[in-house]
């Protein structure tokens, strides 16, 4: 009701009865990455599959996954790193049911003050770098990029700060550099004049898988048709998302940014289909930088769409 904000309509038991559970809740954190999710909902792709999808915003991948473990969400969109950490650490058996985005060139970028001391990645040793959270893809990618460039990534001090705050902190010199994603990259350049110094998604982290959709193993087992339906709808939407003209109005709406910014932001690569060998890069990188203490085989976590 008023308290929960949910529609009080009776649980619609499957539009066409072709799925086990027709009403599902998807939790995600606000970002451009979820544009296809909204396309699927807005364009009626879910409906076509007999799904009634409720979307809930959460502040972090952790919170989203925890809500799912607690039973308040069926599917979550999350960065892979916290999702894999949750798989290892929460005791819950998690599955990946759809890919979401990977890093496109110039979407995962270190910025620094224009005209400041830090001009390239080579200047970062011993510096203070702001990232959105520690032990996530952010700091890991920075470390990886530095390693690739033969720099001592251990000398860096990472401080945690939410994306919107990073450009301002960089501009004020509170930190020497910061890792930002869109739209903060574009907005940061516009509002604070911070300037990109390095794309961290290059070399070994080129086109690096960033985020996907996951569910509990239990849910996947009990609702194979629901999962398949979700996968099909996301597949369609992701295809649409390759067209900028489709995406821009969506991100204007979901991220609340203006048309100009929307037209300027660089988009990540949207994916839906799951490629185990591509995704295996994530746990491997995590092992390399100590986020995981042993190798994790991602293949058993992946739920491929059934061939129906």
């Amino acid at each position: 009701g008023l308290l929960s904000g949910e529609e009080d309509t009776a649980e619609s038991q499957g539009g066409n009865g072709s799925v086990e559970k027709s009403t599902i809740t998807v939790a995600h954190l606000p970002s451009i990455d979820v544009a296809p999710l909204y396309i699927a909902k807005n364009e009626g792709y879910f409906e076509d599959e007999g799904l009634n999808v409720k979307i809930e915003q959460v502040a972090s991948g952790q919170a989203a996954t925890q809500k799912m473990i607690g039973g308040d969400a069926d599917i979550v969109q999350s960065s892979y790193v916290p999702f894999l950490l949750a798989h290892k650490g929460s005791g819950a058996d998690l599955k990946i049911i759809s890919d979401a985005v990977s890093a496109a060139p110039d979407t995962f970028v270190l910025v620094a003050k224009k005209g400041g001391d830090v001009k390239s990645i080579d200047d970062l040793e011993g510096k203070k770098i702001a990232v959105s959270a520690l032990k996530t893809i952010s700091d890991t990618m920075v470390m990886s990029a530095m390693k690739t460039n033969g720099l001592d990534y251990r000398s860096v001090e990472f401080v945690q700060m939410s994306f919107p705050d990073i450009p301002s902190a960089v501009a004020k010199g509170q930190v020497d550099a910061g890792l930002v994603i869109e739209p903060f990259l574009t907005m940061g350049a516009e509002e604070y004049g911070v300037t990109p110094i390095a794309d961290v998604a290059t070399g070994p982290t080129k086109d690096f898988p960033l985020a996907g959709y996951g569910a509990l193993a239990d849910f996947v087992e009990k609702n194979p048709k629901t999962v398949a339906a979700f996968q099909r709808a996301m597949e369609r939407a992701t295809e649409d998302a390759q067209d900028r003209a489709v995406i821009e109005p969506v991100i204007q709406e979901t991220a609340g940014i203006d048309a100009t910014t929307a037209s300027l932001v660089k988009l990540p690569n949207f994916h839906a289909s799951l490629d185990a060998s591509r995704l295996q890069r994530v746990p491997d990188l995590m092992v390399e930088f100590g986020l995981l203490d042993e190798k994790l085989d991602i293949a058993p976590m992946i739920v491929q769409p059934s061939a129906t």
């Binding site: 809500k67 609340g256 940014i257």
Partner: protein
């Protein structure tokens, strides 16, 4: 000057200072939009039905939490105030639990209680309980022993003393506890919406605005609305306590 005029002068001075600091460029407009921009945004938002729903969801959760906190805190405070042994026996547990931050409990609540409104209500009850509990206990410590003796000599049973002497004596200070709890509770509700996400609520508006597009104006608008709600609640509670506790005003020397 009339009190109301003074109230306004104070508020306007604050808003003016805020506006000035931004307009003079002491802080960047992108970081902190000026007061006028935020106020305009508030007016915009208040015109949107969705935002009103957010407010209602937050306020409802808050009232429920406050009610539960009071329903637990006051009786518990009376018992702990009255029975020193119970107080001693529970102190270790109470003192241990009190400083545990709700942010640390969010994951635990999400996985064990769920992510709906019950999560934020639980956390808010947890945080709002302490001021009510503490002020009740302390009010008890200050009671004139002669009043208790009077009641005892009248043959009033223990429970009767709690209800008819301890409670009225403590009531004004308990009310102050409720006022503190009200703001703490609101803070926790909005913060939980903000940190853990929620379908509706002022905190989720702030969250969306912050993470989606870094819309500082909406973030601050939401924040100010939360503050305004807290302010209104405080005024209401103060008026009410003035009405309820006339005797207290008269028997304490208020004017300097």
């Amino acid at each position: 000057m009339k009190p109301l005029v003074r109230n306004l002068v104070g508020l306007i001075a604050f808003l003016g200072l805020w506006e000035l600091v931004v307009r003079l460029g002491l802080v960047q407009e992108e970081d902190v939009p000026p007061a006028t921009v935020v106020l305009t945004r508030i007016v915009d938002l208040l015109g949107q039905e969705a935002f009103l729903r957010d407010i209602i969801a937050t306020v409802l959760a808050w009232l429920i939490a406050l009610g539960i906190a009071a329903a637990i805190g006051i009786p518990l405070g009376l018992v702990l105030g009255n029975f020193p042994r119970v107080r001693l026996a529970t102190r270790a547990v109470v003192e241990f639990l009190r400083p545990i931050p709700s942010v640390a409990l969010i994951p635990l609540v999400l996985v064990s209680i769920g992510g709906g409104p019950e999560a934020k209500i639980t956390l808010a009850v947890y945080a709002a309980l302490w001021p009510i509990l503490y002020n009740t206990i302390y009010a008890f410590d200050e009671i004139d022993p002669l009043l208790i003796d009077t009641a005892r000599s009248c043959g009033v049973p223990k429970a009767g003393i709690l209800a008819s002497v301890a409670l009225p004596h403590a009531a004004p200070f308990v009310f102050t506890g409720i006022r503190i709890s009200a703001s703490v509770g609101l803070i926790v509700i909005v913060s939980t919406e903000f940190i853990a996400g929620s379908n509706v609520g002022i905190g989720s508006v702030i969250l969306e605005a912050a993470y989606g597009a870094g819309r500082t104006d909406i973030v601050l608008a939401g924040t100010v609305v939360a503050g305004l709600i807290g302010y209104l609640a405080n005024e209401g509670l103060e008026k009410l306590s003035g009405k309820l506790f006339k005797w207290h005003k008269a028997t304490t020397a208020e004017v300097a």
